[in-house]
Amino acid sequence: MSLLRGLGNAKFISSDVEPPQFTRVPFPVKALKLLLHELQTNGESASMAAAPTAPLDAESDDGDSDWSDEGKVKDDRYGFLADALGVGGVPFDEDEVLANNDDEDLQNDPISQIDLRVSAACLSLMGYVGPC
């Protein structure tokens, strides 16, 4: 009975929902927006993206070499995850790397080695965007 009462109050979703509407913008505006998004997510070259960053086991990264690892977790059961996702591994939030199915020919193409930030800097010089 309570179920029927509940049904009486239910809102039914119509199947003919209006499709979402979009603003209309000049192409250069949209192109700049796409470029900014690309720069925010992955602007560097393929070789730079693949290069490992500084190792974690540096003697000291904050100038305090007396700091000890007293609280360091010794459990290495999940060490492989750290290897895969940590420094030198695949960035866990980097879809581009995970989805990189380019063939070897394209990976070695000069275009893959171009740093997009340099091209963006050129656009900046031309007054399209602010200083990078």
């Binding site: 979402p20 509407q21 380019d102």
Partner: protein, 163 residues
Amino acid sequence: MLTVIARLLQSQDEAGGLVIGDLIIHLFRRAGEGVLPVLPDLLQAMLIRMQTAQTATFLQSLIIPFAFLVYNHCDAVLDLLESTRVGEEGRLGLDVLLNTWTENAASFQGFWPTRISALALCTLLRAGRPSLQTVVVKGDVIITATTKNSEDSFLQGRIDRVI
């Protein structure tokens, strides 16, 4: 190879996905000037197919070769696109390409395709052609009462599942 590409473009089956794009890119990169005699017809066929393509991968296959050509031969490609009309409505080729490109650029797969797309967009902005300023493309979604309710329902559903 051109026969295979023509057959894939004429077919309504989009199962070829990214393969056809890779095929066209390799053709452009390897054949060099040898492809010039058939280039206008090939690009026109790609623009026509772009208007009916449904899947993201197939659309990427049709757009990325244009991005490659824009990056390498910007003026020649823009000349062609500005003088090409496609479909029954006679839409300008440049309008078809730029609208399809900007609507799908965020979903491109692979490092090389996303990079050549971004570089080609830089090239277009640097070109500063008047025709590029007049093309209008899809921007952001307009939030109305309907779309807001849909978003609220979607978010509420997620919260309910989490709880």
